[in-house]
Symmetry: C2
Subunit: 343 residues, 2 copies
């Protein structure tokens, strides 16, 4: 391997000072165009690259944000990843990816800390209180994305999520207003804050109208389990549900296919289906899924602002739990049943 | 900001040598359990984190692989990203994400080089010859994923792709064998190697049977443009195509929805549709898209092996262009027309 050129070599060849070379490779530093041309020409000739790692030792900034994800193929996350990466890139930061199986979060965060990241976004899992404390001790800001710490956990970590509670409530009101009387719930992972909040809001919304969940099955945010849950919910032809709220769009799409292509039920004529997320595929005409939108762009913006408030100020932001309002997106998968109930 | 603890501080508190501390934080290094416990206890007390950046200056390894992507929401890439991240993570490497708009590749790679990455995977764009040379000069291996350098470009960069040529040919043979006589092609980006190869193979396969492309429109790998291209291809009720090969599944799904829900044509009864990629959504029952699979797992494995051959050996691998065999996946979007041609 050849010896790597240093900034001193570049300075010598360009006939300028070493600090001038440094300024030429520092974003925002003042330097004349002529100087920049001379230095870049010399750098090119010598194959010199300013070393971001060496710089991070001096400035204490790696310009790396660690992102922990699991199941990127979950339809909600590609847009999150792309928008978060793009937004951070505008500010000169880049995402370093860690894939979690949902159980190894603490190991992964330990590994992330070794990269001296400037911040961590957890989109896969939450943290143990002990590890949250370790991040705080190391002055690394952590943001939970689309989840919150388990109730009663000692550590405090900032979070950004959509209004799962309000969304669940609005879906219940919408289905009740549409004349549904046997409204089922297909749950996601029962230990997840998303499922807990959506279900709680849904129950509250039904209760306002004197209704309760008519039938319930668990899909665990998994497509195959959602298909089985659908079979279970609709096993009895008599008194089957006339509507089902599915805790994620990914599962709701599997529910639609199972109802139509396996069980031979017409959606929305026989069953109304509502999802949660508003993934791009919910708009595909073959599904036309009515769903509650988690607005990716404002959620990403809030996440970056939390990180930036630390990165700019150097002080840890107070723990904040930000809730972004969403909205019900009406498409073709639901039908008003008031007409038919009079026949 | 408090002063950060050094490995010397940890050694002093644990009552061991500094090299013992170093060994405790090096994967695979030999160290007794008692030693590890003592050192980790001291490290925890002092809030000490071994600095991966400082280590990279010593070993010359950052354990970071730069990945350039655009349009992660393109349905083919989430699985690529997840599997590549997971596979590299097993070996202690992580992906640093750069989002390209398709035009700024050279700027981005310059930025990536500042992070002193151990390798670069380009899944969005190809490189200028000049930049390929700069990477080679800096001894950074580069792998193009799902694309090759433009024909006639001077630089040489390794690549991994699926058998686009063979796939196009096999799709042509399949549609011809199915009795189709008016076979259309809906192109992706015309300057992309994927489109060039798929179309060339397709034309060759048709030519074997004395056929040629009956009608052609351009979708540019874009959903809205693919919808418009579908309207153009099927504008005339008389003599409309009886089959269409669409250069990507993402576009093919939009074609299916346009044919069925906008133009009122039955697939496969009136038109057969074939895609390319075999994205997860192609298997969804509402689409049941016949398509040519790009096998993600072997493509990822080949990419990692190319990188590893450098990372293990320290020598640059010779430029290699690896082609992974794919296969036609038959589903419900095509129909054999031999029966009907006799009526």
């Amino acid at each position: 391997m050849k010896t790597q050129a240093t900034s001193q070599d570049v300075a010598r060849l360009a006939g300028v000072s070493q600090s001038a070379v440094s300024r030429c490779f520092t974003a925002g530093a003042s330097v004349s165009e002529a100087m920049r041309d001379k230095v870049q020409e010399a750098a090119r000739k010598l194959g010199y690259q300013p070393n971001a790692h060496a710089r991070s030792l001096i400035t204490g900034r790696s310009r790396i944000i660690g992102l922990v994800l699991s199941h990127i193929e979950n339809l909600f996350y590609p847009a999150v990843l792309e928008q978060l990466a793009q937004r951070l890139q505008q500010d000169g930061y880049h995402l370093l990816i860690f894939i979690s199986d949902g159980h190894n979060a603490d190991d992964l965060v330990g590994e992330i800390l070794q990269y001296k990241v400037d911040g961590i976004v957890l989109g896969a899992t939450t943290l143990s209180s002990a590890l949250a404390q370790r991040c705080a001790d190391a002055s690394i800001p952590v943001v939970l994305f689309n989840r919150i710490m388990a109730a009663g956990s000692a550590g405090s970590v900032s979070s950004v999520r959509s209004d799962n509670l309000g969304g669940g409530r609005e879906i219940a009101r919408f289905l009740v207003a549409g004349g549904h009387r046997r409204i089922a719930y297909l749950a996601g992972r029962e230990d997840s804050s998303t499922n807990l909040e959506r279900e709680r809001g849904f129950r509250e919304g039904l209760a306002e109208a004197g209704q309760r969940i008519y039938a319930r099955a668990i899909g665990n945010y998994d497509v195959l389990q959602a298909r089985q849950a659908t079979r279970d919910l609709f096993a009895q032809a008599e008194q089957r549900p006339d509507a089902v709220f599915v805790a994620s769009d990914q599962m709701a799409i599997a529910v639609l296919d199972t109802l139509r292509h396996e069980l031979g039920l017409a959606v929305p004529q026989q069953v109304s289906v509502v999802g949660f997320d508003n993934v791009p595929q919910a708009a595909w005409e073959s599904y036309a899924l009515t769903t509650f939108e988690q607005p990716v762009q404002p959620m990403v913006e809030a996440t970056v602002e939390l990180l930036q408030s630390y990165l700019r100020g150097g002080a840890m932001p107070n723990t904040r739990n930000i809730v972004i309002a969403g909205q019900l997106v009406l498409r073709g998968s639901c039908q008003n049943r008031h007409q038919e109930s009079t026949t």
